[in-house]
């Protein structure tokens, strides 16, 4: 029998689970969920959601691949290029994910179905937009019952968005601290007092929190909900979320390219060299552009049909990149918040539910442009450690730019600190990188003093 690996992300749900077999991801539907799943298909809910591009499509495989006694159906969903988590998304990515959830809920209600959970983990960035991936989240709607996932929606979508909106700063790290959503009681104290004067925020957070503190359970049989009431609730959440904004901000690197473009033909030359090298290494299918900024070089890779993860630690850059990608309908780039000096850890039960950033990385090519000095100088990470990190991310090639100490940007980093970096020079850089990589090409970039390297993993 073929090896079946059950994914740790879905074992909490008795309706079914995800598993991997021979490198392909499948979803099993259990007998337990048969009635709801059949209704999901026969009501046309699945077709409608796939047709409108809101849900990931799947193929039905009539074979019990896991050998489980509770098997009902095996689905082979369209495979994702890279799995990302809400704490790695920018503000507008989370906002779009929240609106997508509400949109799906409305469409499901029209077909007599409701979402039994509302978490950002049910959504992935796939081929240029946010899509819903959990086919087993839909259950038959009982009009007399309220929405079971309402509080979960408030804690995991609305809460983080409201905090970022009111505090005018990116706070993705909070979602890492509370992966199941920021508790209403915490939101109530973290949000500023003026948020109480926003009608919809008061209802969904402050009033909601007040009631959740009281341990009384109403008699569900005497109090009935209705479709009209639920629609009002959804409309109110939608009105509120559409208004939320993360105000634009001049971040550390937001004007980087405008500034870089002024430096003679630095950018043009850098692009020319990289294009030339990309033609040489044409077996590349996937790449990570780390320190991507506004994705200038990720676009270059995407044009060559390379699926590219554009990572940066600056949430404003990633947000701009996401909005640009949405407008251009570019399907080959995934914008992601990544801090290489502290990559996303594994989270959840047994630290297995959501794998770490590095364990998800497996790229044919890594490009690290104007990045090395931030890690080596700002963060004091020695070359010996950096080659380990880069070796984990790429499986074949590395294109890296070395920025010498004499460079004005490095001087800026050293301005207010003691220069303890006696080993920060191109000889030492090459010496260490040759331990893990083979330097196949090397090219100075115009008269910038910076050098580009094409390396191959040993």
């Amino acid at each position: 029998m073929k090896h079946v690996e059950q994914l740790h992300s879905s074992y909490r749900d008795p309706s079914g689970f995800m598993f991997k077999m021979e490198g392909v991801y499948y979803r099993q539907v259990n007998n337990f969920f048969k009635k709801d799943f059949d209704h999901f298909i026969s009501s046309g809910c699945y077709d409608e959601l796939v047709k409108t591009g809101l849900l990931i499509p799947h193929e039905t495989i009539n074979e019990n691949l896991t050998g489980s006694a509770d098997w009902y159906q095996t689905l082979k969903p369209e495979q994702l290029q890279f799995v990302s988590y809400p704490y790695e998304w920018s503000f507008d990515m989370l906002k779009d994910a929240a609106l997508l959830t509400l949109n799906i809920l409305k469409k499901a209600l029209e077909k007599g179905m409701i979402l039994k959970d509302a978490t950002p983990y049910n959504i992935q960035f796939h081929r240029g937009r946010m899509v819903f991936i959990d086919t087993l989240s839909f259950e038959i709607y009982n009009e007399e019952e309220p929405w079971v996932a309402y509080r979960q929606f408030c804690e995991s979508f609305l809460g983080p968005l409201l905090l970022m909106h009111y505090k005018k700063t990116p706070l993705q790290q909070l979602m890492l601290a509370w992966p199941d959503g920021i508790p209403l009681s915490a939101l109530q104290v973290l949000l500023p007092a003026k948020s109480r004067f926003s009608f919809h925020t008061y209802l969904h957070i402050h009033l909601n929190a007040k009631f959740n503190k009281k341990p009384k359970s109403p008699n569900k049989q005497t109090i009935r909900f209705s479709r009209k009431k639920l629609n009002n609730l959804i409309d109110s959440l939608e009105i509120l979320i559409k208004k939320l904004r993360l105000p634009p901000h001049t971040s550390t690197w937001s004007a980087y390219y405008e500034e870089a473009a002024e430096r003679s033909n630095y950018l043009t030359e850098k692009k020319r060299i990289i294009i030339e090298w990309l033609d040489k290494i044409d077996s590349v299918k996937t790449a990570a552009d780390l320190g991507a900024n506004n994705g200038e070089f990720s676009y270059l890779l995407a044009e060559k049909k390379i699926t590219t993860l554009a990572g940066d630690f600056d949430p404003y850059c990633i947000n701009d990149l996401y909005n640009n990608l949405k407008n251009k309908n570019n399907q080959n780039i995934l914008p992601l918040l990544v801090d290489l000096s502290n990559p996303t850890p594994a989270t959840g039960f047994n630290n297995e539910e959501r794998p770490s950033f590095l364990s998800r990385c497996k790229f044919d090519l890594l490009i690290a442009l104007a990045l090395i000095h931030h890690l080596a100088v700002s963060k004091n990470i020695p070359f010996s450690k950096l080659i380990e990190l880069f070796g984990l991310i790429t499986t074949k090639y590395l294109i890296i730019e070395f920025v010498p100490k004499s460079d004005e940007k490095v001087q800026l980093l050293l301005q207010n600190r003691k220069d303890i970096f006696t080993n920060y020079n191109s000889q030492e850089f090459e010496k260490y990188f040759e331990k893990r990589f083979k330097i196949t090409s090397k090219a100075p970039i115009a008269d910038s003093g910076r050098t580009l390297y094409l390396m191959e993993k040993k």
Binding site: P146, W147, V148, Y150, R151, F199, L203, H204, L207, N208, K210, F211, N212, K214, P215, K216, S217, P218, K220, I223, F225, K228, K229, L230, N232, L233, D235, S236
Partner: protein, 55 residues
Amino acid sequence: MMMHWLYIDPGSGSYLVQLIIAGVLGIVFFFRNIKNYIKAFFTRSNRKTDKNSPS
């Protein structure tokens, strides 16, 4: 101290509050719809007048 309500179904607290919130929203949206209807009525009649007015 909070142990006693750790045993309550996490969804149950939101049942009652959802009813109250949905109730409040029902009233607010009811008046909003009336306002929108009146607004639409007057904009419509204005547009009609515009059409009839000599160009």
